[in-house]
């Protein structure tokens, strides 16, 4: 296992497209400089035309030592916006991408593994589940979705993993009871050596993290990846005021504060662009509406009591529901 934090940008050609669930497209690309993508890796894709708009997509499958990489992209109005461009791709198109980047590695040696995939989050866990099966590890794959029609790879995963898969579908009345899942882990003999890997909507991940805490399970056994792409509220347009610069900037639903500030030529500092590192932290000096933090840098209590947010993923939503009401937040940048 190599932590790949940096890699060169390169061209990748789209060679195959298929719809694998309602609104989910499988996109197979052939990168210029193939490199095996280990379970848990993603690639960054430039989705703007020459701008620095970068989106991260998990590698669902790596074939021929990385000669063919399978991504899967959900077309979603609440995503960070790259999905529409990705869904417009045609076979033969070229993308600018990174090689595989690893920030969600599958550890070696846990006694038991539980993988929890919510919705499109399954893309980060498909390769992990296969690796665990090949290793002969003790694992369970929990698939959670609103309806079967939107759950990508459901049939394939059931076929591959059989009894190790548990499927929870909201519209079938079999929604996941998070506390039951975590309590089950806590009561099992290997509880302290069980790792849970999750990728999915922030609400699901928050609920699992809270329950994990309540059951006193080791914090470091809870592994997750978020591309800052989901929040407690749907994304909507809002305004950012910068008293320091005497400027007001609109943040569209499919962009981030950071992207909007960069596009407006405002000097910013950032690195991970997915709410992990805290470099882009800014002070909130005033707000109408609610802040939807979406980051994992601030603790729950900091989100509740402090007045900071991560420019890369945090958003604001209006308190009211009128058509022309936008939330407005005033920020003090570092």
């Amino acid at each position: 296992m190599v932590v790949q934090a940096q890699t060169r940008w390169q061209r990748a050609r789209v060679v195959e497209l298929a719809d694998v669930a309602d609104g989910v497209r499988r996109i197979v690309v052939e990168p210029e400089y193939p490199e095996h993508a280990a379970p848990g890796t993603h690639i960054d894709v430039e989705t703007g035309n020459g701008t620095r708009r970068v989106r991260s997509y998990s590698v669902v499958r790596s074939e021929g030592r990385g000669r063919r990489l399978t991504l899967s992209v959900q077309l979603s109005p609440t995503s960070r916006g790259g999905s529409a461009a990705m869904h417009r791709l045609r076979v033969g198109d070229e993308l600018t991408v990174t090689g595989p980047l690893q920030s969600f590695p599958l550890a070696v040696g846990a006694t038991r593994y539980v993988l929890v995939a919510g919705g499109i989050g399954v893309t980060a866990l498909v390769a992990m589940a296969s690796a665990l099966r090949r290793r002969g590890a003790d694992y369970e794959l929990v698939l959670v979705g609103r309806s079967r029609a939107v759950m990508a790879y459901l049939d394939d995963l059931v076929a591959e993993h059989g009894d190790r898969v548990r499927v929870h579908v909201d519209d079938e009345g079999t929604s996941l009871a998070v506390d039951d899942l975590v309590a089950g882990i806590a009561q099992a003999p290997a509880s302290a050596a069980t790792e849970l890997y999750m990728c999915g909507p922030i609400g699901l991940m928050d609920a699992i993290a809270r329950s994990w805490d309540e059951h006193d399970l080791p914090t470091t056994n809870l592994r997750f990846e978020t591309f800052g792409s989901s929040g407690r509220h749907p994304a909507e347009e809002f305004l950012v005021r910068l008293p320091q610069l005497d400027r007001e900037i609109t943040v569209a639903p499919d962009t981030s504060i950071l992207d909007a500030l960069e596009a407006a030529g405002v000097d910013t500092l950032s690195e991970c662009r997915k709410g992990e590192c805290g470099l882009c932290l800014a002070k909130v000096v005033g707000a109408t509406g609610t802040i939807d933090h979406r980051d994992v840098f601030l603790s729950e209590s900091q989100k509740e009591h402090s007045n900071s947010l991560c420019l890369c993923v945090s958003r604001a939503v209006a308190a009211g529901s009128g058509p022309n009401q936008h939330a407005v937040i005033s920020l003090h940048l570092t």
């Binding site: 932590v3 920030s103 070696v108 090949r134």
Partner: protein, 377 residues
């Protein structure tokens, strides 16, 4: 007389030329350290198959191999502190558990979920800590090479580590062909019968065996001493054997010994002789350096620490001669980049070894030759 000149001499090596700087497989178990070298007191820094590692033990005594670079700014974790089940970075105090997961970050309430350093599969066996720096999904502990004599009650002995300034394959070559003993080790184990005796080479799966019997010969000083340890006052001729077994990627066990001449050792009765196993396992460090772990194990006079010490010192002297030769050979290779290797009949064992390693490298999609100096990795 024609006016056309002959084509210029080909400068490319012949297609069958043996690689001079041999690549090492990554998907393999390598010895990283003797078990006693890895402790819960302070981490050990060692580079294994090109990967710098910080080796340490957690509070359960389990050996752990983490990448020797903090996730944050790559400070070497091997200079850090072991705090129970965690290794603390010496620079900004980030802490990591045995799986490489960061468990503590300064000045913030959360831990970045991406903060992980690679943790490599580790197996402790035969008094060694083995690590796997390749694809962890292929790390099958049952494929650790057999070195059972190292901790079997029927065997006694000890060994050391040589940091050899040469490509690991040169050590394998050295051990697979012991005719060099006549020239390199003339004062201890060398004798001219070595290059006169016939030898057999067989190979099967991941192993290669070279067998050589020298019958009715005068024992060289090393073996005469060993015979006298078991048979005080021994005089006379012996039958001597060397059965060299290679197991991929780089372990070589050499069944060596002598028995009173004509007492049936070649047919299987070794009771009138002394038997040792030279246990060698060579771990590539870089393309041009390796860690050479060796031990001499014997199955007689098991309780004599004196003999253990004498044998260890004796073999140290012998292997010191190899070390000098290997370093000089590596220098000559670097100094003569245009020259190729050519093989002799005595290289059959070593050439089978290369073939097995080439197969392993091909499975990893890598060539058998490492890049020349100054051409990157």
């Amino acid at each position: 007389m024609t006016l056309t000149s002959p084509p210029p001499a080909e400068t490319a090596p012949p297609p069958t030329a043996a690689a001079k700087i041999f690549n090492y497989p990554r998907n393999a178990w390598y010895v990283a350290a003797w078990d006693h070298e890895v402790t819960g007191k302070r981490p050990l820094a060692r580079t294994i198959a090109g990967v710098p590692l910080a080796l340490w033990r957690n509070s359960e005594g389990r050996a752990v191999a983490l990448a020797d670079a903090c996730w944050h700014r790559l400070a070497p974790l091997s200079k850090g502190k072991i705090l129970g089940d965690e290794l603390q970075c010496p620079y900004h105090g980030l802490r990591y558990n045995a799986t490489g997961r960061c468990t503590g970050m300064p000045a913030q309430e959360t831990i970045n979920p991406s903060a992980v350093v690679p943790s490599y599969p580790v197996v402790e066996r035969y008094r060694y800590v083995w690590v796997w720096v390749g694809d962890p999904d292929l790390a099958d502990p049952t494929t650790v090479p057999d070195m059972y004599q190292m901790d079997d009650p029927a065997w006694a002995g000890d060994g050391e580590t040589i940091h050899a300034d040469c490509n690991y394959q040169l050590v394998l070559d050295n051990l697979m062909d012991l005719t060099h003993e006549e020239f390199v080790h003339s004062s201890s184990i060398g004798q001219e019968e070595l290059s006169e005796a016939e030898f057999d080479v067989t190979h099967e799966g991941n192993t290669v065996t070279v067998t050589r019997w020298m019958r009715d010969i005068t024992p060289p000083p090393f073996w005469l001493k060993n015979m006298r340890d078991k048979f005080p006052g021994f005089e006379g001729k012996v039958d001597r054997w060397q059965i060299i077994t290679f197991e991929a990627p780089s372990t070589i066990r050499i069944d060596v010994g002598v028995a009173k001449a004509g007492t049936g050792a070649p047919e299987g009765d070794r009771s009138q002789g002394v038997n040792g196993y030279v246990m060698n396992t060579i771990t590539p460090e870089t393309d041009r350096t390796c860690h050479y772990f060796w031990a001499f194990m014997r199955n007689y006079c098991l309780n004599s620490q004196t003999i253990t010490t004498q044998l260890r010192q004796g073999v140290r002297g012998v292997f010191g001669e190899d070390e000098d030769m290997l370093r000089a050979q590596q220098r000559a290779i670097e100094a003569n980049p245009e020259h190729e290797f050519y093989s002799l009949n005595i290289d059959a064992g070593g050439m089978w070894v290369r073939q097995i390693l080439e197969r392993m490298l091909a499975a990893e999609g890598r060539p058998s030759s490492a890049p020349a100096l100054g051409q990157g990795v």
